[in-house]
Amino acid sequence: MIVVALAGDLMDQSKLRGALPDIRFVRTGLACAGAEVVIVDLDRFGPEIGAARVAAPTARIVAYGPHADREGAAAAVEAGADRVVARSLLFRDPAAVVTDA
């Protein structure tokens, strides 16, 4: 499974790489072309979801952010995210969240 992430925080990258060794990190939505799953940090890359959807039209897009940010979650879905999860849920078991995506 080709998993690409838009995640700028190096701590997030470390945790994701630990769970998903083949994950690739990119900085723009357009760089998500070819991905089957795209993970997006809403804090930093929320505005890139639309471009990711265009670049990877069949990918499942999983966005993550603060638990309480309902507005950000709604905007992510509107921009093309298939699922929005709380940061804590994603990092409890990133592989499971990606599989469930």
Binding site: G8, D9, L10, M11, Q13
Partner: protein
């Protein structure tokens, strides 16, 4: 000696934030050193040690109140992928901690806990000094451009 529950709660929250700051500054300093920005790395390393001293003050106060400090509770450790984003993260941390300290000092005043208040007062001043330094660096990056700013940080 028993501490007021509201003061203990404030000390607990402050400690969780200090523990996150120690780790955040420490990883930033090691990354900056690895990237060759030795002067920034040393400054940020010193900040990490300062935060550790703050944590020690908080831990000692909690123990003084016959409570056990919770070192398992820690705020989120974040790391930017470049120096400007690391400064921005540090600034967020410092501003949030200053607000927590201000609220904690108000709590101390409400319950007449002068002993705790005088321990927290210097932390506000030190935090504001760090905020000023970070704002200055971010301002310089904006004025000079990231590359020109970073070129000045290679000594060491």
């Amino acid at each position: 000696m028993q501490g007021h529950p509201n003061v203990l709660k404030a000390l607990d929250d402050l400690l969780a934030a200090e523990l996150a700051a120690i780790n955040t500054y420490f990883v930033h300093a090691r990354l900056q050193d690895n990237w060759g920005y030795k002067e920034i790395a040393q400054h940020i390393y010193d900040e990490s040690i300062d935060e550790m001293k703050h944590a020690q003050v908080l831990i000692d106060r909690i123990i003084y109140f016959d409570a056990i400090p919770n070192l398992n509770k820690m705020g989120r450790v974040r790391s930017g992928e470049d120096v400007p984003s690391q400064f921005a993260i540090a600034l967020e941390l410092e501003v949030a901690q200053r607000d927590r300290l201000t609220a904690a000092i108000a709590t101390c005043r409400e319950v007449n806990d002068e002993g705790t208040r005088v321990l927290l007062d210097p932390m506000v001043k030190e935090g504001e000094s760090t905020i000023d330094w970070l704002e200055t660096q971010l301002g310089l990056i904006e004025t000079l451009g990231e590359q020109a700013y970073l070129a000045q940080q290679l000594r060491g």
